[in-house]
């Protein structure tokens, strides 16, 4: 720990979201020495708390031309560089009888001016393409939407940064920004694991902490007026739709249904919240009601589909006007050079934007960093694939052709999750092939790979890397197995128990807003197992 203190990094990036990880990758690719710091884990903020929608930009086409154009460009880039994180399932913009069909032509025009390809589809054909869509639709437009797994995307960026020499500290929270007169020269971090503080120095500090950048800026003595708008979403237990479903109207509540991995999710709501509440993301009863009520209009079968969880995230918008809903605000990228803005050297902030434009944000931020450091190197992140997305036959060769086998499921799942890196997962051994998570098909081999190579500190981190505990049982069967494996490789037993309790508590947090029907059965059964059989007590948390 101490040896790092004397080292001066070229750049210290604050925030392990997609933007921070993307900036770390870009900086590392341009030969800078990089430290990426994150207070919890990768993608714990807004990055991991959204639809996971690979926007075509169509949603913004009518209201925000610039964002729409950025989206479609990044959409096409991500298909190339991050193909293992995305699913190219396309999207439909549906017009319901209560919507104005005239909006459709306005929408199609706006899309084409932004460079988004559209195709007006006969409602009957649309229903054949997507049988789960509301049969009452009077119009449908096909757009190149898709799904993106934000956890995988962020991890791949961080992994690549690490491969190119970046240092990464998770569970390290910035508690102060170090300054020498009017120049920022480092950060003070609190290590949540060891419970100790340490100082790290860098020529440039890049604030990529999303909504939390508000507080980071304050440490540096500058003021950024953030505009927190909370959005809630519901996750359904399985896929109802194959294509992304949108409402063909001006953006409103709960009008996107996205299929992502084994599940689908509906969102979002939008509600202005005070900045003090950004760490308290609860989903209210009203949010749940709105999401179900509106969701059913897109796909009626949602009414009879099991809801798995509810969650909420905060849009990191920079306040620009007094719009109370936060919707008409631009999702544009905000890059601040605090030297020019506030006279503070060595400190920049990259915020605003959205998951879709993380790479562009990283590019703009890195361009500025390079300019400040006098480094002349071009950005290559749009051309070089992320680890896992390189074209490689290695995985395919490794996937066994055996027909009668459980590991067909774990192997295919691992390939979906890790792309071409799946070959690193031990296979073919009865023990390594056994399942930890039965809902999501996670093998012991995959868990071990994640623990060893993907920067895992605890069970919740492991979940983001592998989907352990993301299935319908929400950790009921896998949490204890995963805890055992984690314990074997890194944790002392006492801590493992707390970790397990934390993990289950976190699962319960997402289930409590929708705790009825099967969900309440499931959680009751889980608590019988963990309290009754394993003797885990609530005070372990």
């Amino acid at each position: 720990m101490n040896k790092n203190r004397s080292k001066e990094y070229d750049v210290i990036i604050i925030g392990g979201g997609a933007t921070g990880a993307g900036t770390a990758r870009d900086c590392a690719m341009r030969g800078l020495s990089v430290l990426l710091v994150e207070r919890h884990d990768f993608a714990t903020g807004a990055t991991g708390r959204n639809h996971g929608l690979l926007h075509s930009g169509a949603r913004y086409a009518v209201t925000d031309h610039e964002s729409a154009a950025e989206c479609i460009e990044e959409n096409m880039i991500l298909r190339k560089i991050a193909n293992h994180c995305i699913e190219e399932n396309n999207g439909l913009f549906l017009t319901l009888p209560e919507d104005d069909i005239a909006f459709q032509s306005q929408f199609v025009d706006a899309c084409s001016s932004a460079g988004i390809s559209t195709e007006i589809i006969d409602p009957k054909l649309a229903l054949r393409m997507e049988p789960s869509a509301n049969p009452d639709i009077i119009g449908a437009v096909k757009v190149p939407d898709g799904s993106v797994d934000p956890f995988r995307l962020t991890m791949s960026n961080a992994l690549d940064a690490k491969l190119k020499g970046a240092d990464i500290l998770t569970q390290h929270e910035v508690v102060d920004i170090l300054k020498d007169q009017d120049r920022v020269n480092g950060v003070e971090l609190f290590d949540h694991e060891k419970k100790e503080k340490a100082k790290y120095y860098g020529k440039i500090v890049c604030n990529a902490a999303g909504i939390w950048g508000h507080n980071i800026a304050r440490f540096a003595g500058v003021n950024i007026n953030m505009f927190p708008a909370k959005g809630s979403l519901l996750i359904f237990g399985h896929r109802v739709n194959k294509m992304v479903l949108n409402r063909c109207r001006k953006p409103a509540n709960a009008d996107i249904l996205v299929p992502g991995d084994t599940i689908c999710l509906i969102g979002t709501t939008s509600e202005r919240i005070p900045i003090e509440e950004i760490d308290n993301m609860y989903v209210s009863k009203d949010d749940v009601d709105v999401l179900i009520r509106e969701g059913v209009k897109l796909s009626p079968s949602l009414a009879t589909t099991r809801i798995l969880r509810a969650y909420a995230g905060v849009r990191p918008l920079v306040a620009a006007d007094d719009d109370p809903s936060g919707r008409s605000i631009s999702r544009g990228i905000v890059l601040m050079d605090h030297k020019e803005r506030d006279g503070l050297e060595g400190f920049i902030t990259i915020t605003g934007g959205k998951l879709m434009t993380y790479r562009l944000m990283a590019e703009e931020a890195t361009d500025l960093i390079c300019k400040k450091l006098d480094v002349d190197k071009k950005c290559e992140t749009a051309n070089i694939p992320l680890p896992g997305s390189e074209k490689s036959d290695e995985t395919l060769n490794n996937v066994s052709q055996k027909v009668y086998s459980i590991n067909g499921i774990t192997q295919k799942s691992a390939k979906d999750r890790h792309g071409s890196l799946a070959h690193k997962i031990a296979q073919g051994d009865e023990n390594e092939d056994s399942m930890v998570c039965e809902c999501e098909g996670v093998s012991i081999g995959e868990v071990k790979y994640a623990i060893n190579e993907l920067h895992v500190n605890n069970l919740i981190d492991l979940r983001r890397r592998t989907r352990v505990g993301m299935g319908t049982c929400q950790g009921e069967l896998c949490a204890c197995r995963a805890a055992g494996l984690l314990c074997e490789s890194m944790e002392e037993p006492g801590k493992a128990k707390d970790d397990l309790a934390n993990f289950l508590q976190e699962r319960w947090k997402g289930m409590s807003p929708i705790a009825w029907g099967e969900t309440i059965n499931e959680i009751q059964f889980t608590s019988w197992i963990y309290e009754g059989i394993y003797g885990l007590k609530p005070d372990n948390n």
């Binding site: 237990g237 399985h238 896929r239 299929p259 991995d261 084994t262 079968s301 009879t304 589909t305 099991r306 809801i307 027909v403 009668y404 086998s405 459980i406 067909g408 499921i409 295919k412 799942s413 979906d416 039965e438 809902c439 098909g441 299935g471 319908t472 049982c473 009921e476 069967l477 009825w516 029907g517 099967e518 059965n521 499931e522 059964f525």
Partner: protein
């Protein structure tokens, strides 16, 4: 009293999302215990279904190893139709086409018609060792298996010739769905049913034209044909049940189970109008007795020790209690209830070479029970269980209706309602 039906709010097809991962189904799966290649009901059913909804490539041909015994569904405390999920997945996703062998095994109607026409030749031929060896290597029908003997005089023909006329003498009437086995292989069972029903005061009629229930077609992936036959049968049942107010009874638990449950669940063929009056013969009789509408008189000299085996589909229907209660009414019967276990044959499953070993291992605990029970013979409602038990144990097997036919005092029984 009208039954109140509670409709839970969030229920999708086959209730697969009601699974709380308790894993009880896995414990009750007879295949998983002997064949580790089978992923088990939970993994193949609700867990696998989520995966397949994500990407049909997750379909695993190992689902073919499922016996469709539905014991997982009986065990499931959450009402998940696990067996239906697995069968539907096979129908929807399987890419492998049925082989010639599967067509032969599945088309019980056509094969039965041909075989019974040339019964003496066919019976001798398929019993010959060299022929069985050839069938083993060419068709992959296991050489251990003996085909049930085909009859020279089909039940339908016998009925038209000798029994039909007499049935008009009765005041009450039922239709009889005899199924392929009674028609082509074992008409005696049909004759026994007519004897018992006549004694009970019921005239027995055949459907206008019955087709094979289609269970073997479904399990061999011949869904189009199965659906066609299902629609035909539902219409034929309607003519009896709706038009003539005559319930339909059957002696085959699997046929009746298929018609009642698999038609709507797997084939999407609606059967609400006929479902309640499509009955198993033993249940029909028991309910008459229970309601005081029928009394049976038994012969004094009938004394047997009988073991009852619960076929999987009887377990699923929950109806074995009717057959055993009926048998217990016979004063001279000492009934041994065998522990409910799958015999392993599962219709055509056990005939296939690749399944033979699994089939026998699944049935072994049952065979041991039978050998140790020291009974005169075994009773069961399913014909394929009968073949399996007769092949794998030293015991003979009889249908409960045939036992009744032997034990009943026809004249005294008839006198009770004739006066």
């Amino acid at each position: 009293m009208k039954k109140e039906i509670f409709e839970p709010y969030n229920v999708s097809d086959n209730n697969f999302e009601q699974c709380v991962k308790c894993t009880i189904c896995t414990v009750y799966c007879p295949v998983l215990e002997v064949n580790p290649d089978y992923p088990g009901p939970k993994q193949s059913g609700p867990d696998g279904e989520r995966m397949r909804l994500k990407d049909p490539e997750f379909y695993d041909e190992a689902l073919k190893l499922c016996l469709n015994c539905k014991r997982c569904e009986v065990a499931c405390p959450s009402g998940v139709k696990i067996g239906d999920i697995i069968q539907s997945a096979r129908i929807k996703y399987s890419k492998s086409k049925p082989k010639l062998r599967d067509m032969i095994l599945a088309n019980t109607d056509i094969v039965g018609t041909m075989a019974s026409t040339f019964a003496p030749i066919v019976n001798t031929a398929v019993a010959l060792k060299p022929v069985r060896k050839v069938m083993d290597s060419v068709l992959k029908i296991d050489h251990h298996r003996m085909f049930p003997k085909y009859t020279g005089l089909r039940f339908e023909t016998w009925y038209r010739r000798y029994a039909e006329k007499k049935q008009q003498e009765f005041k009450k009437h039922v239709s009889y769905f005899h199924g392929c086995y009674v028609n082509y292989n074992f008409p005696q069972q049909g004759k026994d049913l007519i004897k018992v029903m006549n004694a009970a005061g019921y005239g027995v009629h055949l459907l206008e034209k019955e087709k094979c229930c289609g269970v073997a077609l479904i399990s061999n992936g011949l869904i189009k044909q199965a659906t066609k036959q299902a629609k035909h049968n539902v219409e034929a049942f309607k003519k009896s049940i709706v038009d003539k107010k005559m319930p339909v009874i059957s002696t085959s638990s699997t046929c009746i189970f298929t018609i009642r449950d698999e038609y709507p669940h797997l084939l999407g063929v609606k059967n609400e109008e006929i479902r309640n009056d499509s009955e198993l013969a033993t249940r029909f009789l028991f309910r008459l007795i229970d309601e005081g509408k029928l009394n049976l008189v038994f012969k004094k000299n009938y004394k047997k020790r009988i073991a009852y085996h619960t076929p999987c589909h009887m377990e699923k229907l929950g109806w074995s209690i009717y057959s055993t209660s009926l048998l217990k009414m016979i004063p001279g019967v000492e009934l041994v209830q065998l522990e409910s276990q799958c015999c392993g044959i599962a219709g055509t499953y056990g005939f296939k070479k690749e399944n033979y070993q699994t089939s026998q291992e699944v049935g072994k605990p049952l065979f041991d029970q039978i050998e140790n029970s020291k009974v005169d013979f075994v009773a069961t409602d399913c014909e394929t269980c009968k073949w399996q038990i007769e092949m794998s144990t030293s015991s003979k097997v009889q249908h409960p209706i045939s036992i009744l036919a032997e034990a009943i005092d026809v004249e005294s029984t008839m006198k009770l309602w004739q006066k």
